[in-house]
């Protein structure tokens, strides 16, 4: 499973980084960084939560 960010849509709310700190973080500039596009099975639930809480639907999970 892979998690990807549509950078044109992402506005940096950071709720995803709270939901999946292993996978995503806001850097010091306030820009979202994907720490790992590959989602390990153990992180799948957090990845789904991260996608769900994005207010602008900028995150996508692909099988």
């Amino acid at each position: 499973m892979r998690i990807t960010v549509d950078e044109a849509r992402c506005e940096g709310y950071g709720f995803c980084a709270e939901a999946a700190p292993h996978l995503l973080e806001l850097d010091d500039e306030g820009d979202l960084k994907v720490l790992s596009e590959e989602v390990a099975p153990g992180d799948a639930a957090n990845a789904e939560a991260a996608v769900r809480v994005c207010p602008v639907a900028a995150l996508r999970l692909e099988p």
Partner: protein, 397 residues
């Protein structure tokens, strides 16, 4: 293949005084009737369940905004070119102008100033003891912040809130309320058209719109509609959320104690206020093709009300949805909409709301409120007055 004839039809009036005062029983009927229902009075459909509203908002290719988000042709025509009534690629050009000033990153440097302003507003009100939580608190705060950020000249500021109220209400169904609101929407647009770019504070959000046009990033004729987006949408969510917060905390003192003792609950509490009393009740979309809605087929061309306020009380999504629970952390509520058209100012709204709740949590032990006066608006739910008395926290030595 299911046909549109199977979509249940409900002869409901969503805009009577009684329903606008308490819409939740009608929303429950809509949710229970089906994933999408037909409302013959408005020759429109409505979705009231969380999963369907959210999925519809995410699917802008099937559910277009470009024919307007209201329930009457006049308002849908008058709002052509406003960001709320656009699809990509036009939407994305306009959104970039707003997001460059409103994204969490862009507003980081406002945090200290807004927190200070919240303290300066709340401290004397708490000393005073009695105040109107709408006029003195909920309106005073965003008006002072947002109009400065937009950079509006002083002249005309006193009318901005009334115009914003009308600009929303003008998108209701044809009828006397819409007729009364529409001229005020026109007044707002005339006022904004009369402002010269150099009357807007240099560096302000408003000035940035005209700078974007000068730089060729948006068309010149997009400036007034974007200004309208700021002065219409920049106030109501925050005003209603702050006054609703006071009402809910007055009626649920144990929930206020939780927040006072653990201010890290403030973001969750603010989301919960927005969930349980969503300021924007609905915006419409138009189906661009035949769309499957949880097994029913909505025909291309159908106008459908996306009932945010109903979705946020959907028992299929939320346990005990009418219960106010600051620990619920309903971060995926739909009060700001969702997806591409999700509120561009939600970061600022959250910053304002969190700052006010934090300032109150430091000073107020109990709220007591009298009978609220409800503001009747066809799209927005909120209060017009809320007499409030506060008991301050005991001074610590």
């Amino acid at each position: 293949m299911t046909s549109t004839s199977e979509i249940p039809s409900l002869d409901l009036d969503l805009f009577s005084d009684d329903v606008l005062t308490d819409p939740f029983p009608v929303y429950e009927r809509i949710r229970n009737a089906g994933p999408v229902v037909y409302l013959p009075r408005y020759r429109s459909y409505a979705m009231g369940r969380y999963a369907d509203v959210r999925a519809g908002l995410a699917d802008w290719e099937s559910f277009s905004s470009a024919q307007g988000i209201g329930l009457n042709d006049l308002a849908n025509a008058a709002t052509q070119g406003m960001i709320i009534a656009t699809d990509p690629p036009e939407h994305d050009r306009l959104r970039d102008v707003l997001a460059s000033r409103l994204s969490p990153k862009a507003i980081r440097q406002l945090k200290d100033d807004i927190e200070r302003r919240a303290d300066e507003l709340v401290a004397p009100l708490v000393r005073q003891g009695d105040f109107d939580a709408v006029d003195d608190l909920a309106r005073a705060f965003p008006i002072s912040i947002v109009l400065d950020l937009i950079g509006l000249p002083q002249n005309g500021r006193d009318k901005v809130l009334g115009w914003a109220d009308a600009a929303f209400s003008a998108s209701g169904p044809p009828g006397p309320r819409t007729d009364a609101a529409f001229p005020l929407l026109e007044d707002q647009l005339a006022y904004l058209s009369s402002i010269e770019p150099d009357q807007l504070t240099p560096g302000s959000m408003g000035r940035a719109i005209y700078d974007a046009a000068a730089a060729g990033r948006i068309r010149q004729e997009s400036c007034v509609p974007l200004m309208s987006a700021y002065v219409t949408a920049g106030l109501d969510t925050t005003i209603n959320a702050i006054s609703n917060a006071v009402w809910y905390f007055a009626h649920n003192p144990e929930q206020w104690d939780l927040v006072r003792l653990d201010p890290t609950l403030i973001p969750s509490a603010f989301n919960e206020v927005l969930r349980i009393e969503s300021p924007v009740q609905f915006f419409c979309r138009v189906a661009t093709r035949d769309v499957d809605v949880d097994g029913l087929t909505l025909a291309a061309g159908s106008r459908v009300m996306m009932l945010y306020a109903s979705a946020n009380r959907d028992e299929r999504k939320w346990a005990d949805p009418a219960r106010f629970d600051v620990r619920r952390n309903p971060v995926d509520h739909l009060a700001f909409g969702y997806g591409m058209h999700g509120c561009a100012g939600q970061g600022l709204a959250r910053l304002e709301g969190h700052s006010i709740l934090a300032a109150l949590a430091r000073r107020v032990e109990r709220f007591e409120v009298g009978a609220p006066v409800r503001r009747i608006n066809q799209l927005i739910r909120g209060l017009d007055a809320l007499p409030t008395t506060v008991r301050p926290v005991a001074e610590t030595a």
